[in-house]
Structure formats: structure tokens, C-alpha cells
Point group: C2
Chain length 415, copies 2
């Protein structure tokens, strides 16, 4: 085991999830135990906090608060959507990062994020190697989109999926209450991969879910949508549709753009604005003349820790811990990933994969899990996703409301 | 104690809530115990089920399922928005109800709903008395709007308030994640009373809530809204606004109508459509040029039993039980209501009030609980609302998802 003694910094990047702070908690608690890591810092707003020298000394925090991070949604340190330049073209940021790393004696860099963040990790690591500065770099995965390559699934997905499936069941109950026809359209996040939209199939598996599911993996057509809806509508008068915000037609146009086009051509009656759900609901109203409701799960699907998955929270925490352990054991340039050893009973083990392998790659729903009509997913998906949404999180309550972690955020000092 | 032996019917009316089925569970379980009640029926879609003779024999249901109703959202029997005619003008429906009551030997009528439903109860009862048909009529209150007269609060409100407060806290966390300015507008249900919108103040009380709260009780002005937002925006760059869908200007115009008017007059740049949240977010974007997000809690706020209030569920169940007990003891023409005996510790007792007193009356937030600026509520509101949102519901899970009650719905037969 190679010894590298110094400080560590951890950053959160990209869109928030319900469990990104659970990974932070795992990193902090494990780093505070490790002898090789002298101080563990949390960077404000991801890599920006490093560039701007805004880092917090996590050893100064109350251990109770660090543990409460497990059930505190969103990024407690702040996140960022900042893409580092290609180091072959512009080394400015990389030089600055090296300068800060030296100034604070940072020898361990942990970064929590999706595809782009793994790319960031990879570029930083390569630059440090080129500069001859010893620093171990580990990626911790997170994304509600579940689209990271080479891992069975991603922390963040299970909790978002549990929120989406539970809420879909509840909306199903609500949408059937009157004996009049109604079409309900649910809009779920996911720009390129339909994993989260497909989670509405879990509600259908329990008998309280959508009739139709549209994923970005399948080209979308308004005409096909209307004819699909018509079939269900004729039978029951009640239709529930789940649609990904990322659905596109064969020309790569998103649904709002498609409808704008139709507008000028043949008009649906009035001008359209708003999200995909509202638009598809309006389009259905124009055709079927019944009551419609467009519902966007919006930010709630990625921050509703109260209905998160305990499995997901535990795995996110473990991913943070394992990143620290592996780095202290000499590993670098890896991302923590999951490999499903068994599905029933569910058993997932941690593996490490090369950052270069995962950076910027995208995992979509396998074509064989999507039905021929392109408007639902198969039971294979259900068996894949169900184990990921198990268990109620143990939320600490205060006045009947969640008690989020409160951090002191004591600024780190140069060595 | 006067003896009246016969069958009973229970109906659910108006918009669904998280706990309307908890009241149904209370009615059914208590009625099955009472000797005076021979059979307990559930009417499909409220009073429509009586008119159409679609009633289910609840004694045929599995007791486990009847108990699961406690945590099954929305109306298990189906609801209705059907207003009976003024009996002085048209007695058709009343005569038909009397006919069905005689045919099925119905001597007890329990109706679960809001203002309109209590009016329905009252009219039916008066008609039966006039016709000399002995039948006891009891109202069970429910509404997420909390706007029923003469009761401390309404079953349905506590659960919706807990959902709204918890979700607001979670969205607060999410909306602060980037170090860039952002304005978030949350739209909450409530056409005439702001009780549910005010529940966002509970999130603020915990330090994770809105900066501004707009209620239907205060006339709304776009200019005042923009100047309020500007004050917060200048200080922090982050603004969270909670707005009731029922906010109106001094002429009684709702926000979408106000903006449409402004459109033709001085234009906000492009045509507006969609809900209040989207519109207010767009209006702010045009003025401040920053990132905005409009979030509508939509149906979720009234059907998210998974984050319901245990206090509310228990009280809803008890309201159903008490309605049956009181009727069996000889009471009629009453609504079950709540009287707060003590706030700390919270203690609420049941009282019965005359249907005529509550029918069509509306309870709004007291003016002294609203701040002078008309954009927030006082701590008195917080102390009023907090006890109502306490306790986690015990949700039975199956595959990690809620197990809703499944009813056989065996049709009732005439005597």
C-alpha cells in the first residue's frame, strides 16, 4: 500500500439529487477516519470552489450534522455547471487548480457528478500527472438520469424513481375520481435517456400506472401519440400518459418545437407555451374535447428525499466511503461503480472503472426493453428497477418537518 | 336513546384529499359494529350513486382492505361535483333519492365533503323531514382548502399542508444550489382561502421557505409583486415566492387574466399561457433577466398520502367514526367539527354543529394573521398549523410502493 499523506477536497457537480449529500456524508466520514488524509475540505460549487479558493474544513463540522447530510436533499456545498476547457487548447484553469492544490497541499480529489463531471476528473488527473504533482483522483457517480456508462445504476436514480413511481400511483388514484373522461400527462426529467420516465412502469406494475410511456430512446410523433391515446380513450375514457421531457422527433426536435411548427401549419386553436406535459395535454384536449391535466414533476423528482429509496441512500453513502478507501489504498483515475451480483435477493458489489471509460459516454434503455409500439417498457425493466427503490429513508423530523443538515462552513486555510 | 334500525349509505363528494378514504374507513368500520345499522353501503360517485342506484355493500369487503383505506389517497368510491337543484324550484332529484332510500331501507345518510356537500346534506335532510321519512343525516368534513366554517380545521388540510411544507423545503434546497440568481414561484391550490398556500410559511419557520407569500385574501397586483421580488432579489439574488392559484386583483381578475390584459396594453414580450406559477415566473424573467422556475404542486398536493399527516389521518378516521356514533345515538342534521381545547400539547375534541350553520359559509385566514405588506403570514398562523402536520403515516408497502386498498365493490340489492 502506497502512502500519500496530505489533504483532500470533495466537490459536488451537476444537477442536484436526493442523495448527492449522502455521498458527501460517506466521503467526509470516511476521510475523517483515514490516517493518510490530514484534512478533508468541501469545495463550494464544485470545481469553482477550488478555482476561487472557497473550500470548507469539514473536520470543523458537528458529526451529527455530517450524518444528517444523508437525508438532506440537493448539494449542501453548492453545485456548478462549469465545463473546463480542453487542456490542449487552454490550460489556464488547470494551472490554477494545480496552484490551489499545492497551496492547500491537496493530494486527494473526489468529485461527485455525472458524465461531464467524470470528464472533469479525468482531465484534472491527466494534467496533474503531466505536471508531476502526485494527486489521487476518484469519481463518485450521481445522476437521477441513470445514464452513466459501465455501472449497473447510479446513486440518485433509485430515489428519483421511487418518487416518480409513488407520485404516479397517487395521481392515478386522483385522476380516476370522477366518472367523466380525463387525460392526464405526466412529464418526467431525462434529456437523452428514459430511465426515470420508465420508472412510471413500476406504478403500472402495481396496477396504478400510466397506459402509455414515451421515452427519448424512441422518436416521438404527435400523430402516433394521438392515435395511441385514442385507443385507450375509446376503451376506458381515462388515459394516463408518461412522457420524457427529452422526447424528440426524427429530426431531433423536442415536443414544444414540434407543436409550434404544427401551429403555423394547421393550428391547434391557440398559441402554445409551457412544458411538454401542458402541451401534450392541450393537444389531446383539442382532439378529444375532454378534461385534461398536464403535470410536471419538476424539481420535486430530484429533491424529494422524504420519499427517497433507503437502498439508494445507503449505496450513495457507500460510494463516497469506497472512493476514499480506494484512494487511500493507492487507487486513482477511477470511478466507483456498481455491479449487480444477484437480483433476487438483490446484491450489488462495488467495482472501480477507469474514468476514461465513463467520461462523456451515455447509457440508454436497451432496445429490447421497449415494446414494439415504442410506448411502454417490458417487465425486464421492472425487475431491473424494483430493487433500487426499496426501503423508507429514516428522516429525522423536527416540528413534523425534515431536519436538514446545517453546516458551519468554516473556510479552509492554505498550509 | 332513540332506536332507528335500517341501512346506511355513505358518499364522497368534491375534490379528493389524502384522507377522504380515512373518513370512509372510520364510517365503514364503525357502522359494521353498530347494531342499529344493518348494512352499510358506499355510494359510487357521491349522490350520483344514490340517484343511479350504484351502491356497494361494504360488509362484503375484506376488513384488511377497509383498514388500508386509511392510507389510500383520493376517493375510493369515486367522487362527484353535482349540485342538487333548489328543492323549492325542482324536486325531481329529491323525490328520486327518497324513492331509493325507501327501496334500500336507508335510514342513515353520511356525506363526506366541503361546503357544497354540507349544503347537499342539509337539503336532503329537510326534504326527508317534509316527506315524513325518518332518516338521520350527518356531514363529515373534508377539504384541503380548510375553508369550512365553525370548525378549528378540516380533515384533508393537515396532510396537504405537510406535503406543501415538506416539498417547499426540498425545493428551497434545490433552488439554492448554483451561485447564480434564480427566482422560483410555487403555485398552491385554494380558490378563495389561502390556508394551504400559507402552509409554505411552515417551511420558512424551519429556515427553508419562501420569501414572499401571496394569498387570495389580499388583492394581488403584478406591480407590487415585482417590487416585492426586486427587494429580495437585490439582497440575495435568490427569491422563492409562494402564490395561491386563487389570487385576484381588486376587480376579481385572476393572475392569468391580469397578464393577458397587460399583454395587449404594454406587452411582456410574448403571449402568455399556462398556470399562475409559470406566468409569474415569466413576468419576473422579463424584468430581472435571470433564471426562473414556475412549479405547480398540482394534483400531488391533494393526493400525496405518503407524506400525509398522521394527526390528520387519525382525525379524519375519527370524524367518520363519530358521525356514525352520533347518528346511532339519535343525532341528525349535524356536521362533525373540531374544537381545539389546547395548542400545546395539542388537544382537539369533536363537536357537532348544525348543517345549516356550515352550508355554503367560507372561512378565510384572519386579517390579523397576514402582515401589513400583504405578502406573508404571522407566527400565529405557524402555531395554528404546526400541530396539524405532525406524525408520519404508517404506509403499508409492497415492492417498496404503497399498497392501496382494493375493493370488490359488490352491488347493493334492494330490500
Amino acid at each position: 500500500m502506497s502512502k500519500l499523506i496530505g489533504n483532500a477536497v470533495f466537490g459536488q457537480s451537476g444537477g442536484p439529487t436526493s442523495v448527492i449529500n449522502a455521498s458527501a456524508s460517506g466521503v467526509f466520514q470516511e476521510a475523517l477516519k483515514q490516517e493518510n488524509i490530514v484534512k478533508i475540505y468541501g469545495a463550494a460549487h464544485g470545481i469553482k470552489g477550488v478555482l476561487d479558493e472557497v473550500m470548507y474544513n469539514m473536520g470543523q463540522e458537528d458529526p451529527v450534522e455530517l450524518n444528517l447530510l444523508k437525508t438532506t436533499p440537493s448539494s449542501a456545498l453548492g453545485s456548478v455547471r462549469y465545463k473546463l476547457a480542453d487542456p490542449n487548447k487552454d490550460e489556464t484553469d488547470y494551472k490554477r487548480i494545480l496552484e490551489v492544490f499545492k497551496k492547500y497541499n491537496i493530494r486527494y480529489f473526489f468529485y461527485n457528478g455525472g458524465n461531464d463531471s467524470m470528464d472533469t476528473c479525468n482531465k484534472i488527473s491527466k494534467f496533474m500527472q503531466k505536471a508531476g504533482y502526485e494527486c489521487r483522483v476518484m469519481g463518485v457517480p450521481k445522476t437521477i438520469d441513470n445514464d452513466l456508462w459501465a455501472t449497473d445504476h447510479c446513486p440518485g436514480y433509485g430515489s428519483a424513481a421511487r418518487y416518480v413511481a409513488t407520485s404516479t400511483m397517487e395521481v392515478y388514484q386522483d385522476a380516476r375520481v370522477y366518472d367523466t373522461p380525463m387525460i392526464t400527462v405526466l412529464e418526467v426529467m431525462g434529456r437523452n435517456a428514459g430511465w426515470l420516465t420508465a420508472a412510471t412502469a413500476l406504478a403500472a406494475y402495481k396496477g396504478f400506472g400510466p397506459d402509455l410511456i414515451y421515452l427519448p430512446e424512441v422518436p416521438f410523433s404527435i400523430d402516433k401519440y394521438l392515435s395511441d391515446v385514442e385507443k385507450v380513450f375509446k376503451k376506458t375514457g381515462k388515459v394516463i400518459v408518461a412522457v420524457s421531457e427529452g422526447c424528440k422527433d426524427t429530426n431531433g426536435k423536442y415536443i414544444p418545437e414540434m407543436v409550434q411548427d404544427n401551429l403555423t401549419k394547421d393550428a391547434f386553436g391557440h398559441s402554445q407555451l409551457g412544458g411538454t406535459a401542458t402541451i401534450l395535454a392541450d393537444v389531446a384536449k383539442n382532439k378529444f374535447g375532454c378534461k385534461v391535466r398536464g403535470i410536471e414533476f419538476s424539481l420535486l423528482q430530484r429533491c424529494a428525499t422524504h420519499i427517497g429509496s433507503l437502498t439508494d441512500i445507503n449505496e450513495a453513502f457507500m460510494a463516497g466511503q469506497e472512493a476514499v478507501k480506494a484512494a487511500c489504498e493507492g487507487m486513482t483515475d477511477k470511478m466507483v461503480a456498481f455491479e449487480r451480483v444477484s437480483n433476487n435477493p438483490y446484491d450489488c458489489k462495488i467495482k472501480l472503472i477507469n474514468l476514461s471509460e465513463v467520461a462523456n459516454a451515455e447509457k440508454k434503455i436497451p432496445a429490447e426493453w421497449i415494446n414494439k409500439e415504442g410506448n411502454f417498457v417490458s417487465e425486464e425493466f421492472v425487475h431491473y428497477a424494483l430493487p433500487l427503490i426499496q426501503g423508507n429513508p429514516e428522516i429525522t423530523l423536527e416540528d413534523g418537518l425534515p431536519r436538514f443538515a446545517k453546516l458551519k462552513k468554516v473556510l479552509a486555510k492554505p498550509e
